[in-house]
């Protein structure tokens, strides 16, 4: 196996067996681990406290106990997180930080305290108006509260120097993974949809220092091999996340290359850089203030513009909306950007997903039909039958 494929399979292993990966790192470093519920929990602070931040992004297990707290009309990520918490999967964590963006998260934050009492809950409430001075002041206060809780766990102070070092490390990580995202569309075979996802997701379960090194190495190995031609269509993904793997395999099966994404689990995590602030916490708060995501209040409703730009900059043929079933923040955004993309003539495919799906046949038909629709001209006409046909 080449070095390139070895790194890829290591990352795939981490992303498909996160529990194992996290335990191994805890043993190796002697660090405690803190769980980070989606979305935008301040990993930098956990890292500065000398602990390992661990992403918590649901899974594919059978829901048995979580039903007690979350009805079947709650999103599958939260049902999974609670289920796994209740069945002891997360017992290696010393605490979890739970933000309260949407209605489901607000409930989970309370549920967790009773359902998973063995793991300490640290709630985080984010400001609605992020970019005002009051928003920033409030945010830094929230960070300070989290810091106190973490300090009580380790018994050591989290210094400004440590925080700044951690921010620098995270900035480096964000730069590196952005490079990977930018280049992945050039390798539709080696970095197909499933691999691309696994490589990015692995970051949630690694010490970001090691992870950045691995991604850096992956990038330099990639440079040594020629880029690959994509035969099918090029798309931008938008939504919370694109899972399960069976869905990603359908993209590969139909020659769909993911050239960019606007997923909460992927690019939304790292597309924004720190760009101002007089101290570490302000830097974090200001970065948060300019982040763009369906969960964060945005008066300007910029998502449509953002998607249009992603399509244009990456020469994409269309946008695939992976709509997490029962996710209200994502559903609220949809009609607004749908209209804008329609006006621009950008083809869209709407797929409703859950993390665990018993059958993907309907998705197969939709994805295949979308490819046929977008590729129609080149596929069936070849200029032979009808010379004046126009493509999409």
């Amino acid at each position: 196996m080449s070095r390139l494929h070895k790194i890829i399979s290591e990352l795939e292993e981490i992303s498909t067996h996160p529990g194992r990966a996290v335990r191994k790192q805890m043993e190796k470093t002697g660090k405690k681990a803190v769980g980070c519920f989606p979305y935008y929990t301040p990993e930098e602070i956990i890292y500065a406290a000398g602990m390992l931040p661990v992403g918590m992004w649901g899974g594919q297990s059978e829901i048995k106990q979580a039903d007690t707290y979350l009805q079947s009309f709650c999103c599958s990520i939260m049902r999974e997180n609670l289920e796994q918490g209740m069945s002891g999967v997360y017992d290696m964590l010393s605490a979890v930080i739970i933000p309260t963006y949407c209605d489901t998260l607000k409930c989970v934050c309370e549920n967790w305290k009773v359902a998973v009492p063995q793991i300490k809950t640290i709630p985080m409430v984010y400001p609605q108006n992020r970019a005002t001075s009051a928003g920033v002041a409030y945010m830094t206060d929230e960070y300070r509260r989290v810091i106190k809780e973490l300090e009580a766990m380790t018994g050591a102070e989290i210094t400004e120097t440590e925080l700044l070092k951690s921010i620098a490390l995270y900035e480096g990580y964000r730069r590196t993974i952005r490079k990977f995202v930018a280049i992945s569309g050039h390798y539709p075979k080696t970095l197909n949809a499933r691999v691309r996802h696994a490589v990015i997701k692995a970051g949630f379960f690694c010490d970001k220092k090691n992870y950045s090194t691995m991604i850096g190495e992956l990038l330099s190995e990639l440079k040594k091999v020629p880029s690959e031609k994509s035969e099918g269509i090029r798309v931008v993904l938008t939504g919370i996340l694109a899972e399960p793997d069976a869905l990603l395999d359908l993209f590969d099966e139909n020659g769909v290359t993911i050239v960019a994404d606007d997923l909460a689990q992927e690019s939304r995590q790292f597309r924004t850089s720190v760009d101002m602030g007089e101290n570490a916490l302000e830097m974090l708060a200001y970065r948060y203030a300019i982040q763009e995501c369906s969960l964060l209040y945005d008066e300007a409703k910029r998502r449509g513009t953002l998607l249009k730009d992603l399509v244009k900059d990456n020469r994409a043929d269309g946008v695939v909306i992976v709509m997490m079933k029962f996710c209200d923040p994502e559903e609220f955004d949809y009609p607004i950007y749908k209209k804008e993309l329609e006006e621009e003539g950008i083809p869209m495919l709407y797929l409703e997903i859950e993390q665990k799906m018993d059958s993907v046949e309907q998705l197969r038909t939709r994805i295949q039909a979308f490819t046929e629709m977008v590729m129609h001209k080149s596929l069936f006409y070849n200029g032979k039958e009808n010379d004046d046909v126009h493509g999409y």
Binding site: P347, Y350, E352, E361, Q362, R364, T365, R366, Q368, A369, E372, M373, H376, F380, Y381, N382, K384, E385, N386, V389
Partner: protein, 256 residues
């Protein structure tokens, strides 16, 4: 000679075209994927055309069972095939409504019969052929006489549940409390039309509207749908076979 095979959830269809794309044979068998249906429909179509398997230069499979059927040269989705078939029959078609056994689709096509946009119903059976089957069963009426039953209605009993399972118990309790079968049948037809029209609202319906798929044989649904969407509907000739026809047309093109 070119063949299109449409393997659905509850029926299999085959169409054979000659070199000039004239229809030589068209066959329908009422069993679908996972059965002998696909084999049988191919044999029937060949017999009707007086042809042997080796006469077929190219085969395209479509429909829910397209991936499982091993003998096709290519698989193309029923979305593209229904669009192609309907546009061949009605060249001015702007929107195609296809209601099959398990799903409902609305496809918008451009002037050249190419798919512009489409929507499919979600996993559930509301607004599909399955819903009619269930209703026919509780009303104790053969499925091909359900439309006729509904024309004898004196009023409409609205069915408020969209879910097929809930609608079933709703109808049972209506019947138990003395509602007339024909009035319930009318409500059932209307309920499907509402579901499908709602689906259409997601992509917008543009005339001329063509209806394909087995459910188009039920003229009461066609009528109810016309009044819901506000456009006249042209029912494709031999509506069940439209997908197979489209597949056969693609087969002819692929073989160029």
């Amino acid at each position: 000679m070119y063949m299109g095979i449409d393997i659905g959830s509850s029926s299999s269809k085959a169409v054979i075209l000659d070199k000039t794309r004239r229809i030589l044979a068209s066959a329908v068998v009422n069993t679908g994927t996972g059965t002998q249906g696909p084999e049988k429909v191919v044999e029937t179509a060949l017999a009707l055309a007086g042809l042997f398997p080796e006469d077929i230069l190219y085969r395209v499979a479509t429909g829910y069972g397209r991936m499982l059927y091993g003998k096709a040269d290519r698989q193309i989705t029923e979305i593209s095939c229904h669009a192609r078939g309907a546009a061949y029959l009605v060249p001015e078609a702007g929107t195609i409504i296809d209601i099959g056994g398990q799903d409902a689709k609305i496809i918008r096509v451009d002037r050249d019969g190419r798919v512009e946009n489409f929507v499919m119903n979600d996993k559930c059976a509301a607004g599909t052929g399955r819903f009619i089957e269930v209703m026919a069963r509780i009303l104790d009426c053969p499925i091909d006489q359900l439309a006729e039953l509904s024309t004898r209605a004196t009023e409409e009993i609205a069915i408020s549940s969209t879910c097929t399972v809930f609608a079933e118990s709703e109808v049972i309790s209506q019947l138990a409390s003395g509602a007339k079968r024909e009035n319930v049948a009318k409500g059932a037809h209307h309920s499907i039309a509402m579901r499908v029209a709602g689906l259409g609202g997601r992509i917008g319906i543009r005339p001329i509207v063509v209806m394909t798929g087995g459910v188009a044989l039920n003229l009461e649904i066609v009528r109810a749908l016309e009044s819901e969407i506000g456009y006249r509907i042209v029912v494709a000739e031999n509506p069940q076979a439209t997908g197979a026809l489209g597949a056969a047309l693609y087969a002819a093109e692929c073989n160029l």
